[in-house]
Each structure stands twice: as C-alpha cells, then as structure tokens.
C-alpha cells in the first residue's frame, strides 16, 4: 500500500535553548526552557498544546509522564522517543500522524538533556545492556572507539583519507562561527584537524563532538492552525525510519537509510540534487559521509571524496550542517537528534538569521542513533520544504 503523504500537517516554531558545556540544572529544566521558548515563538501557552513528545537520556527517575505533572501539562497524546540521534525525525513522524488523524491538534516535540560534571561517563557506563556487557569493559568509554573501528574499516576499504573527513569538520566550524550559540568559537583549519591529538585512532580530537547540556523544540500542527497563528511553517515531503538494519554486516559501513532511500525520494517526488541544504547526524564526520552515500548523493564508498569536492559551508554549493552541527555547536544528549531538524525548519522558513542559506526551499534532514553495541541502530530521514 502506498504511504499516505503529510498533507495539511506542518512544522513550526523551532527553538534552540543555547547549550552549555556543563550544567547543574536538570533535564526537566532544559526541557521546560525549550518548550517555553517554542511556545513563546508561536504565541501559545502550555494549555494550547494537547500533544507532547519527549526525548531525553537524563530524566531519570522520571519519564515524560512525570513531566506532564512537573510542567503542568495535560496532553491527550503523549510520547517518549528513546531514539537518541534519530529522535527528532521519529518524533516528527509520530506527531504528524497524530495531528493528521485528529488525535492531537498541536504536538510539542522536545529534546533536552543536562550534563553535570562526570555526567557523560555515568551515562555511558549504563547506556545499554550490550554496552555494559560487551563494549564498556573494553575501554571504549563511549562511542569514540566504536566509530574509530568503523572509520578504520571505511578508510581501508574505500581509500578515504583523514583529510577528506577533515574537510567536513572544517566546513562545519566555519558555519558554527556564524552561529552565536555554538560552543566552538575558534576557527578550525585542516591542519588543526590533521594534527589534533589522537582520541582513538584514526579518530582525533576534531572528529569528536563536545558533550554538553541543551535543548531543542518544535511544534507540529495543521497547516490551517499555523496560518491562523500567522507562523512561518515547513512542509513534510517525505520521511523514513528503520531500526537494526543490515544486522549481519560485520562492520557498519551502511545504515538503515540504504533500505528505505528509494521510498524517501519517491514520496518526496524529488532527487538528492534538488536539496538546497543537508543536515546529517554528525557525531563523527565519517557518519556524515555514510549518510550522503546511503541517501543517494553518491555511490557507496565515495562519500568522503564526494564531500571533499564540495563547499559545505553556508554559502557553498552543498550547505551542510549549517548551524555547525554537533561537531561545532555541541552534542546535547538527545537534543543531538533534533539539532539538524530545528535548524532545517529555520532554514526553509527563512528564519535562520546568521546561518541562513540564501533562498533555501528544500532541506534533507537525517538522523542516526543509539550505539547499542557496535553500531547505531536507529536511522531516519525527512525532506522539508518551503510551502509554495
């Protein structure tokens, strides 16, 4: 059966609560700030929303259920989205269908996490059962070493160089310098990238994100409601989602996007070359390269070279991670699964301010999440467009 489109449902009021490296506030605080920021942008009050989707790693012992009482909300539709880097697109997919079906009128999708001193280590040490049993005891201390193995194999199989990946990181830093909220404020040269201290070979310092605290939010509502509220909005042209794809691949050199890529472009009625900008999940540059391959921009193994030949800055021929992405703006837990999405909504609604890509009308956003053991299990993507 052909999938139903998202006619009549739109995204609006993207909001980013500025990140901080460490925070003694709680996830509840961060989520409240982002929700309040998004509602303020829309001219709404908490009573106006009847749907609430939450992604967070640091709410414990609470869940989104407790958040309703904590924040004084009474939604008739409530969702917890535990997909990490894919949580933004997954929340969007679910919320859009709920609005389309009339189960909710306005859904607030929020991701937020705090990062106290030593919080990241504690989060990693209990991340998943397989991590507990089979990666954390091996010194991995998080995804760095897991992705070092992926990058090692990618470079060996496809002949990519560290400089190719450096090109991605350097361009994102240039973009971040335009984003006043980005944690990274200093320019990054390719030489800085190549000579940085090793973290887990071949991954070095500037292949890694900076864990931080932060929150992101946006609203899903009917097009009619957005027009009534006089809000700039983005259309959802297509989405895909996949979990635990290619489980028998010995090393993850492709993600679930490769399963669903044809459906994505078919549903959107577009091709990759139609995109004015791309927001990938950039926990490491090599992962961004995988997404360009699996989402149809180039053949498998050519991602690094494909990107190296392009200008990925805001004014370039292929603007990529225009807010600086996680590599330069910071990785705020589950908000890392929203950062590209809120920025893409800003871009196609022409509200991105200093990071605005000129005439941006079509954006691809890609999400990737949850290193359960040796690979990311969740992949998702969506195409957003400026209403014609």
């Amino acid at each position: 059966m052909a999938r139903q489109g998202y006619d009549g449902v739109v995204l609006a009021a993207p909001y980013t609560e500025p990140y901080t490296r460490f925070s003694n506030e709680t996830a509840h605080w961060w989520i409240a700030r982002a929700l309040s920021g998004s509602l303020r942008a829309a001219g709404l009050t908490p009573r106006d929303i009847d749907g609430f989707a939450v992604a967070s790693f640091t709410l414990f012992p609470d869940t989104p259920v407790a958040l309703t009482q904590h924040l004084g909300l009474s939604p008739r539709w409530l969702d917890s989205v535990p997909m990490g880097g894919a949580s933004g697109i997954v929340a969007l997919r679910r919320a859009a269908r709920a609005v389309q079906a009339g189960d909710a009128d306005i859904v607030a999708c929020v991701a937020g996490d705090t990062n106290p001193i030593d919080g990241f280590r504690k989060l990693l040490s209990g991340f998943s059962r397989f991590a507990l049993d089979a990666s954390y005891p091996y010194g991995y201390g998080g995804p760095n070493a897991s992705f070092a193995l992926l990058m090692d194999r990618y470079m060996a199989d496809y002949g990519a160089s560290r400089a190719d990946f450096g090109h991605i990181a350097v361009a994102q830093r240039a973009n971040a310098l335009r984003n006043p909220h980005a944690l990274m404020k200093k320019p990054l040269s390719l030489d800085d990238y190549l000579t940085a201290r090793p973290i887990a070979e071949p991954i070095a310092l500037f292949d890694c994100v900076m864990p931080c605290a932060g929150a992101e939010a946006f609203l899903v509502m009917t097009e009619d409601r957005a027009r009534t509220l006089n809000l700039p909005f983005a259309r959802i042209s297509a989405t895909i989602e996949r979990h635990n794809a290619f489980a028998d691949d010995p090393i993850q050199l492709r993600g679930g996007w490769a399963v669903d890529v044809d459906e994505l472009w078919q549903m959107a009625g577009l091709v990759p070359q139609d995109m004015d900008l791309v927001q990938t999940y950039d926990d490491y540059p090599v992962i961004s390269a995988l997404q360009f391959e699996d989402l149809g921009f180039c053949a498998k193994g050519e991602g690094a070279a494909f990107l190296a030949a392009r200008d990925l800055t805001i004014t370039g021929d292929l603007p990529h991670n225009t807010s600086g992405g996680q590599l330069s703006a910071g990785q705020a837990g589950a908000a890392g699964g929203f950062i590209g999405l809120t920025e893409a909504i800003r871009q196609v609604t022409r509200t991105a301010g200093p990071t605005q890509v000129a005439d941006a009308a079509r954006a691809l956003v890609s999400g990737f999440g949850m290193i359960n053991f040796d690979r990311g299990l969740c992949s998702a993507a969506c195409v957003l467009e400026t209403p014609s």
Partner: protein, 414 residues
C-alpha cells in the same frame, strides 16, 4: 613484537602506592556466562539449542528464532581481525591509567562479530586465536591473541594488566611441607618469579626437602604455621608488603569416616584448612588488596589449594573433605572481598596426591609435580578454577552436570 618486561626497580617508599582501580565490572546475568568460562580458561559462547545459532553479546533469547533455550558451548577459537583502534582517551579511570589501549572488531569463526582486546603482536587484518580471560574486575572478556606464540607474548601490557603471571612477582607458599612445595617452587622460578618465600612449620621436625630448596636461588624459608596466628602476623610484618601472590597450600588430609575418624584429625583439618585460610587472610589480605595496582610486580593473586572432594564429600575422608568444603566456602567469600583490590582468587582442586595419606587409594593419583604445574599454569593464564588431575576433572564434570547425583555416587564409593 612484545617488549620483554624489565624487572621492576626497588619500590620507593616515599612514593604513593597507586590505589587499585578496576575496569567496569557490572554485567547482565546472561553475560556472566562469559566469566564462568573465562574462570576455567574455556572459550564458550551462548548457543541456541533449538536452531544452533551462536550469538554474541549474550542475550535472553535467540536472535534468530526467539527460542529461550540457550546454552554455553565450547566454540572454535579462530577469528579474523576486521578493524582496530588504539584508544588514547577514555573517561573510565581504569583505562585512563593504562592508555594507549588496543581494541578491535573480530569476526569469530564461531559466527558472531565481537569487540575485543587486541594483543600487541596481532598484525593488522590478521587471523587471531581468541581467548576468554578474566580482567581485573574478575569478569570474562574477549582477547584476540596472536595465532602462534610470539616471544614474550605474556608481557603484553593488556595481558599483564588483566593477568596474574608469576613473572617478576614475589610469591609466598604457605606450607613448605606439602608434597608439591619443591616442584612448585621450581616451577614458579622457571616461570620468572622474582622470589619464593616458603612457610615452614615446626622447624624442629625433620624437613627432607630442605637441601633441594636450599640449592635454589631466590628462595627463602620462614617460620610459619597457619594454625598459629602469631607466626603469621610475624611473617606478614616482615614480608607482607612484598608478597604479590600468596599460595595457600596448607591442608590436612587424613583417612577416616565420621565414626571411624578422630575428633583430633577433624580439628586439625579445620584448623589448618578453613581457619588457616582466615588467619592468612587477616594478616596478608589487606596489603594484597592495597597493592593491586602497584606497578609491574603489583599484587595479583591468592591461590587456595583444595582437595577435589571439596565439591562432594568423600565418606572415606570425611573430616578432610568437610574441611575442604569449608575452606572452599571461605575462599569464595574471600574472592569477593579481594576483587575490590583487583586480586584474583584461584582455586586449584587437587585430586588425591601420590603421598603417604592417600596410600591405600587406587590410581590415578596426582604427581606433586603435576599439581605444581597446574598451579603455575592457572596463574599464567589468570584462571579462577583449575582441576588438577583426572580425579579432580572427573569430579568437576560430574558436579557441573548434577551435584546431587555426584553425592550419591560418592556415597557408593564410585
């Protein structure tokens, strides 16, 4: 090529002894199967008894057919190194102190792909031989070893960090009068031990092994009687801070049943076995546990030598096997206490040794030299459970299969 470990310099008493940290030790219940196999030096993975799939990491259901009938089975040790990294930064305190650390992805011949510690002599992309080994936290971890022996391979930093190899270590053997003591001393020195201290009780009694031991370098005899707390405290006061491995081989084996045995023998068996272990632990345990990260010759292990029948009573040696069972129970608790300091507790279950007290028993019996070899191999491989000799291995297998049936069979003299 592994750089051979240099003998450690003399300890500088003015410098702080590093506090032992441990690698992450929390595991799911299913994953403890890896530790059980590692404790015995076996290479086992979780296998579905319905569809035969071998899976890793351990799960609670089969990832192929959803069956919950899962068992641990020995698997081929071959593997191929698919990707590797050298970790230079880790938020974990244990690994932070030991960087850089090599790790990689291996395709196991058994089927699954796994993350593993990688021995320094395994070349990029090479075939490897896998082992399940206990790490400092006492949990089983996968280690990819070179396919063939390489020079000094036991000195690899990762193996040294997790293992209990006697090389460069100073070792106390509690009972010099035990039949295996001379062979054990020799074997430890051959394995590279820096020094062997031997405890000798009742010096006035004849001690036939004296000339053999006196002829060995780096061996010293010390007054020690595990039934006498004062002698233990005295010895711990003089050498307690430099015992890296303690081998408690004191045991009292006498034939006799409950009716036919004497209270005196039973008391001696408990005094020398169970209570002796406690006395030694009181005096030597704290220093061992505090020195778990003390450089090349850090404290590493405690060995408890037990009669094979510690797992199941032998009516012909009622008191001795009861004392063995009590010693085993205490030693298991000691294992939990010493784990916090990164000290491994190795149980060596010895079949009947070919000595005067087992004289009426039929073969097979365990030559003292074979027992000595089993202890040293257990230390070299970093094990927790060793069954030395055919009788001990037989009892262990039957105990694993069905302890109640084993008890019945022991009663029938089988």
């Amino acid at each position: 090529m592994t750089q051979p470990l240099a003998p450690p310099p003399r300890k500088n008493p003015a410098r702080r002894t590093p506090v032992p940290t441990l690698p992450p030790g929390t595991r799911s219940r299913a994953a403890l199967g890896l530790s059980l196999a590692a404790a015995q030096g076996r290479f086992q993975l979780q296998t579905c008894t319905d569809c035969g799939a071998v899976q890793y990491p351990p799960r609670d259901a089969c990832h192929r057919c959803l069956s919950t009938a899962l068992a641990w089975q020995d698997q081929p040790r071959g593997a191929q190194l698919l990707a590797e990294t050298t970790i230079h930064a880790s938020p974990d305190p244990y690994f932070r102190e030991r960087l850089p650390w090599r790790a990689g992805t291996v395709q196991l011949d058994a089927g699954p792909v796994a993350l593993a510690h990688i021995h320094g002599d395994v070349l990029r992309g090479a075939r490897t031989r896998m082992a399940l080994m206990l790490d400092r936290a006492g949990q089983g971890v996968l280690v990819a070893l070179p396919e063939k022996e390489t020079p000094h391979m036991q000195d690899d930093p990762a193996l040294r960090a997790m293992g209990t190899h006697p090389r460069h270590r100073r070792i106390l053997i509690a009972d010099a009068r035990a039949p295996e003591a001379p062979a054990l001393t020799r074997a430890l020195l051959d394995a590279g031990a820096a020094h062997v201290f031997l405890g000798l009780s009742e010096r006035w009694r004849p001690f036939p092994a004296q000339p053999t031991l006196a002829a060995m370098e780096n061996v010293t005899l010390h007054p020690l009687d595990v039934t006498d707390a004062e002698s233990i405290t005295d010895l711990a006061g003089s050498i307690g801070g430099k015992v890296d491995i303690l081998i408690n081989n004191a045991r009292h084996i006498r034939p006799g049943g409950v009716i036919t045995g004497t209270i005196h023998d039973a008391g001696d068996a408990l005094e020398k076995g169970a209570l002796g272990l406690m006395r030694l632990a009181h005096a030597f345990g704290p220093a061992l546990a505090a020195r778990g990260a003390d450089g090349v010759n850090s404290a590493a292990a405690w060995v408890t030598v037990l009669p094979a029948q510690a797992l199941a009573h032998d009516p012909a040696f009622a008191a001795s096997t009861a004392a063995g069972a009590a010693t085993r129970a205490l030693s298991l608790s000691l294992r939990a206490e010493l784990r916090a300091g990164g000290i491994r507790v190795l149980h060596v279950h010895a079949g009947p040794v070919d000595d005067e007290w087992h004289q009426p028993l039929p073969p097979p019996k365990l030559a003292p030299k074979a027992l000595a070899r089993a202890i040293v191999q257990g230390l070299e491989q970093g094990l927790e459970e060793v069954h030395a000799g055919d009788v001990a291995r037989d009892i262990a297998e039957r105990f694993a299969r069905n302890p109640a049936l084993l008890a019945r069979e022991m009663e029938g003299g089988a």
